[in-house]
Amino acid sequence: MDLHESSRSQTSLAAVTVVAILLQAALAPQISLFGGTINFMLILAAVYAFSGNASRAVIAGFLCGLFYDLTASVPVGLMTLLLTIGSFVLANSSAAAIGASSQNTYRLVAVFCFAVSMVYGVALVIMGIQSDLVNSLLGHGLSTAILSALVSVPFFLASGTSDSSRRGFSVKSKGSRFKGIR
């Protein structure tokens, strides 16, 4: 039963990965709202961070960031670095919040999107690629974070990782007394 469920979860995760990559390449360059664009790689990194394996989440964050950097006109390595660190933090935060509701998951993802976009905006200013900090943060970073956080919802639903009480660790179906701790 568990094996079957795990296999299904892996399949949906693979499907979400393919869709996110295609959307990043095809749709992200076409949609721009209020100065922001949807960062599908940010969303994908968040999905992996909630999949219950911190090591895999970090590697996925690195690869997502690298793909973003290589398909956009931005410095290669910057989003890679941010998503690597961000995925590590998010994966461990999600592990700490095990048993929490899906609402908390979305809250964590929104914070993740916001933090990565803001730090990215600041980094671009420091590197001299953007000159206006306010515009970089509020004009581009904030709208990108909001758009990405909103679009992440269907991805989490599709991947089945939004309900953190169902994911990760061996306490899941063994009746651990720590299961209810939030």
Partner: protein
Amino acid sequence: MPRSQKKYSTGYNNRGQSTGFRPLIVLCIASVLLLTFYIREGESGPIHTVRAGVTTITSPARMVGAAIATPFNGLGNIFANLTASQETLDELRAQNEELTAQVAELSEAQETATRLEGLLDLRSTYNLQSTAARIIGMSSDAWSRTVTIDKGSLDGLAINMPVTNSAGVIGQIIEVSPNTATVRLANDEQSGISAMVQSTRAQGMLEGQPDGTLRLEYISVDSDVREGDIIVTSGIGGVYPKGLPLGTITSVERASNAVYYTIVVRSAVSTENNEEVLVITSLTDEQAASDEDVAEANSSPQGTTRDAQDDTSDDGSGDASADGTDTGTGE
């Protein structure tokens, strides 16, 4: 560790302590190295080459995305007649969809024809040696203003080539892959184009701003500059042909004790998906700024007065005709 403790330790602890941190350190170092190499390497370095390869691989997806997104620019609302019978309604809906598709197709074809005529006019007016291309995508990040076009190094395009449409200058190629190229738009923050006021020849630099507007910098307060003046490329620098339209001045402000005006320029162009553009592949001697032009720009960067300019110009039509039609032999 005692044997019993080892036996009953949970998978949670093992995984929490041993996984995640090691790949984090390794991949962080890799990221920093990537960033460092990217900044230090030239345009033809290995990371740029890899990026060109990725762009090539993803360009079909980008084209599909552009094709999907284009109809949404032009389609209006379709109202259904709720009072009609279901059969009539179905028939009308089908007809409506067909006609809407035809109208969209014809409108698009008409707009394309108009744009192509404009491009041909531009090409013959300025005697441009150029390659036609089509925009297939915008920037996929929010912080830069670029577009991707469907021609690349295999079509003879190279970095720094200027890109125009029928209305004027769009920008400059900053990255090129075998079958696509990335164009930095004139209103990108990192863009700077040698420009001048068409009527007075006052020299400046047209620069993109963080908010997406254009500013004409380094125009001395001694210059005669007014709202509505047309800004054209000066040709100094050898990248852009001289006389191509860049935009129109929308405001001129002079702060007290300032050396230069604060001039806001409205761009002459807009960029949309599937729009045709011209990539200028080389400049003739007439199109590049001559030594005399450079010397004149250096000696009087503030330009001449409007009256003097009118006197020296036979027809008063400005730079476009002076630099374009006079030069050439056509295509």
